[in-house]
Symmetry: C2
Subunit: 346 residues, 2 copies
């Protein structure tokens, strides 16, 4: 089975979009394929968002004591000041170990259908456990985390407030869900593209609209659609032409590690393109630093159509219209250690 | 010359305080030795604080790309969410190297007469260069930093705005001064003790006022006075009794490394005690995690008077009154890399 055939179902579905396109205006086509980012954070299943919980989730997101060394927090690799990423090929974790894949943005991640490059977590609250427990990232265990938090009096009080009436509110489950609750607030509405989708045709420049047209016509939209302009499905990196090992290191077989089926070799979750001009470097390998290069590679590897310089420029112009209003985050005050807080293990 | 003799001048000066004390009320004695934290940040010499400069200084303070690895910022070790410290004995720097001394708080540091534990920097703008350039901390060079910032278009625009009319505003000198400008805003006014000093006698509890009295009577005030309740002079660690190597590692001779004079062996800047209940672990070695222990050690090593448990408790009660209003910091948006931004070197 060729890679193209593996994607057949999806390609066919999208042909419907292309056929309809002929009779539609550009904005109608766009509305068919994309959705604007809502103004309010979506609900996180299983835990109602109260102000006390969202604030506690923010504290935990910034809390370096969730790591074994007490130096690495969620925000270290997914900085709220850098569109939810770090500016590295792959992040640096516990004892300066390097991650194997580029840190995806946390911004708007709540709109992805799955988390991680290989989709191995179905939602943010499942994802949150990954870096916390990964020995090369934060290096903790659920038991360590609960023990530490229980020995920090300020957190004991905050968890009581967030879960009134509960006898033992400091659980790893709650930690994960609270972090997810805060992460769900990290959305970037009101990009020019969102305002365009909502009916303001002047919100995008002529160049950006031309780029949108090219994006639709060339077929980028087959993978990059929905609220996040991606993040909704999987695709082999190299549908048509397998990129060089510089961009696609052969040792990382992507979703194959999750499914163990041959047709998921080198398959990755399609990344969302929201705020993409802010989130270099690109690809799961983090090896493409230049957005124009990344777009050109997508042309040859995924579409089988080498994009000319003008087309790359046009698509990049469209991508600029995906930069939304960045969340304003007040740095949380983290409570001091108590007398029995376990010591860092750097 | 004994250590005690080396401090003779200061001890004599302070006797004046003690003699006068008999005729003074507690608040009068306190006002003689201490000053409240002002409500507005003090000026930084050599650079007028404009909103554009303070905001740019904040961006630089949070900017991991000032480090060689693009992962460590000022805020990594001096977190605005943790009273200006990290919760470690000594910080972790470039390639997981460990610093040799505990990271002092940046909060209210502008009121210290010198910076670093050994006072080797006279002011914040001189201090700022230290971690930036230290190979075991951020590991950069002035040239690297200037080159990186000049290759990030967002910074080019911000520096132009902060230094209107200047042809070449991105200089290492400006980077240092801008960081200092932001740091000078990190002050914590309105602690109970400040409100007490300003005339509200009910701002402190009876226990806290008792502790203040003990603090004055036992002579803690001889070293810990002024706005920062410290930070204004040097003292040997072990004026009376040299602490064990667990707290005072023998290889770090403190200010001796700056002055090379025998009488500055094991001399350190007296740390300020503002927000001290938030800034464990303690001492230049970061080896004392418990504030009661730290106070007790000060009694034996500096005062030659073993403090009994009640006295330690009373002093600790006073120290609680030194926790001020923590600065509210909105996380800055950091501009993305440009096409020619030098890559991180992790």
């Amino acid at each position: 089975m060729t890679r193209r055939a593996a994607l057949g179902g999806i390609v066919l579905t999208m042909i419907g979009v292309s056929t309809a396109a002929a009779q539609q205006t550009l904005v109608e086509q766009a509305r068919f394929a994309f959705r604007p980012i809502p103004h309010e954070p979506p609900a996180v299943e299983g835990l109602e968002a109260t102000p006390a919980r969202v604030e506690l989730g923010k504290m935990l997101y910034f809390e370096p004591r969730l790591s074994k060394s007490h130096t690495i927090s969620c925000n270290t690799c997914h900085s709220v000041g850098m569109a939810g990423i770090d500016p590295l090929e792959t992040s640096i974790g516990h004892r300066w170990q390097r991650g194997s894949r580029n840190a995806p943005t946390v911004f708007n991640a709540v709109f992805n259908t799955a988390q991680f490059w290989d989709g191995r977590a179905s939602d943010l609250e499942t994802q949150a456990a990954g870096p916390l427990l990964n020995p090369i990232e934060m290096g903790s265990s659920p038991g360590d985390i609960v023990k530490r938090l229980k020995a920090i009096p300020g957190y004991v009080a905050r968890f009581r407030e967030a879960f009134p009436g509960q006898d033992d509110p400091i659980t790893f489950e709650h930690v994960r869900r609270l972090i997810a609750l805060f992460e769900a607030t990290l959305i970037t509405p009101d990009a020019p593209f969102d305002r365009y989708l909502r009916g303001n045709e002047d919100a995008m420049t002529t160049e950006e609209k031309n780029g949108l047209r090219v994006f639709l016509e060339k077929g980028c939209v087959q993978c990059h659609h929905g609220v996040n302009v991606g993040g909704g499905r999987y695709a082999p990196f190299g549908v048509v032409e397998v990129p060089g090992a510089d961009l696609l290191p052969r040792e990382d077989k992507g979703r194959f590690n999750v499914t163990r089926t041959a047709d998921s070799e080198y398959v990755f979750k399609v990344p969302g393109l929201r705020n993409v001009v802010l989130t270099a470097p690109y690809f799961h390998s983090g090896r493409a630093w230049d957005l124009r290069q990344a777009v050109a590679v997508m042309g040859t590897s995924q579409l089988g159509a080498a994009l000319n310089d003008d087309e790359v420029d046009e698509i990049v112009a469209f991508l600029y219209s995906l930069t939304g209003r960045q969340p304003v985050v007040t740095y949380p005050m983290l409570p001091p250690n108590g007398p029995d807080t376990p010591r860092p293990e750097p």
